[in-house]
Amino acid sequence: MQYSQKVLDHFMHPHNVGKMENPDATATEGSPSCGDQVTIFLKIDKDSKIIEDVSFLSYGCASNIATASIITDLAKGKSLEDAKKISYEDAMEALDGLPPVKVHCSVLAADTLQTAISNYEIAHGLKEVPDFGKETILAELKKIIYPQVGTDIVTLKMVKYVGFSDGEVLIDMNMMSFDSWRENVAEEIHEHLDKYPEVKKVTINFP
């Protein structure tokens, strides 16, 4: 497994790294217990809604640092509307690709940026706190990358069924018993859903 030169450059000399004093918005995603965590800070012009400054902190591997670096590059100087379109695929492309097992790092970086933007919008009355439901669960599952191929589990049709009632999430997965990534994917599902106060219990069924 090898990293591209771009990844190595951003890892060794990351852009926009460091804590920001008095940011207009911030978000932290990931958890150290699962291996990586990213914090993103935004400075946003009140009137133009342009991201004037952005910085990050990262606890994680080389690709975690590199993807956070590139995502802040991509966001800097963009309007909130344009920045909302930045995806993990954009980050990967800008880094000349990532090994499949590392794609989840770019998802984390992109996700943290989007959460920071969303936090800003909610705080400034630009949008409502979204209702939690099946849509939210599916959106979260779409952020989970199957490490073998580097594509999300929804696109790969590994999610057969999603249910939500009375705080209980039920997910039926289509992953064979010999698939060595089952445990890893289950951990990721918990990490993505347990953070919602609406979620009391997550049950994942494998065939």
């Binding site: 060794m12 790294v17 990262s58 994680g60 591997c61 975690n64 097992v101």
Partner: protein, 395 residues
Amino acid sequence: MKSGSVYLDNCVTSPMAPEVLDAMMPYFSERFWFPGSFVSTGESTNDALSGFAHTIAAAIGARDEEIHFTSGGTLANNIAIKGLAGSAQRGHVICSVVDYPDLLTNAAWLEKQGFEVSYLPADDEARIDLVALKQAIRPDTFLFMTTIVNHVVGTIQPMKEISEILKAADHKIYFHADAGQAFGKMPLQVDDYGIDTMSISAHKIHGPQGIGALYVRKGLRLAQTIHGIKRADNLQTGGLSIALIAGFAKAVEMNFADLPGSIRQLRELSDYLYARLQEKIDHIELNGPMGEERAAHNINVSIDYIEGESMAMMLDMHGITVATGSACASQGLKPSYVLMAIGKNHVQSHGSMKFTLSRYTTREQLDFAVDKLAEITTELRSRSPLYNAAKNQEK
């Protein structure tokens, strides 16, 4: 800096001694013959092989005929474990949760074949639980296996106590030991511990890659697992490289010429390394035991707030090779099962660095590695949200 110019991952494989290469050369060229009878070529190889087996046997207090050459430690483990299981046909096996993957994957395979396996827990320094061992023994237990020196944190298992427990059982329990990390790093005589089968490997003590040996106590019959023509050995049938065996013997000869001296040298180096790490880096802790209960070549630490793959990659850019238990650096995205089994958390495993030294390691190399790691730690901590949060709390 050239890749691997400060190589501190000697528990995986170690550089071959130049003398070992010299010892192998004749067997790659004019003395290429396989063993044989009645002809001078084959007989001279017989004699050479006997000499090599003798050198290796003497190092572990074994008889020459108890040494069986294999293509490495893993094959030796397989021949022993599957051979003992094949003889037993059914029954119960005991190993531990901190064992080397060779033993654990074989244990999993045995379970699939219908054997039952008990996995002993370990304490917070990776010592197996002796009370649990006593309790795990059943009338149908036929095999206990252990990794003498833990491959992650260097813990030397309490071999004397283990052997006494096994001896006290009211029936024979075979004792298989993986000595991959122990051979040449500690005094190890098979009779001291009642070991029945033991795997050793050449390339971890500056011998060539691709050769190892299995010790099998005289009189013990293993079910044959590899069938074929007998050339150099009856357990690993087929051809084996005489040159590699010659190199193995030379490496053993060099390592064991002054074993206490070479252990002392490694112990001094690893004590020096740990002292330097503590001096230069704060929020750092040793994983595994201190002192005599730890193999002399291993230092494993966890560095708080930062992640191991990043550290290892940055060290690599300075030509320094180390290992980490970080999930990010593993193909399966899993933290080190050994560190997790001894009560460390994910963060401690992600931030772990393993240094394994050899006779070629110098203090200058260790100084360079520690200085670079201290710089890297400062840099990565400045990028870390965990470190920033901890600093805020301190304020």
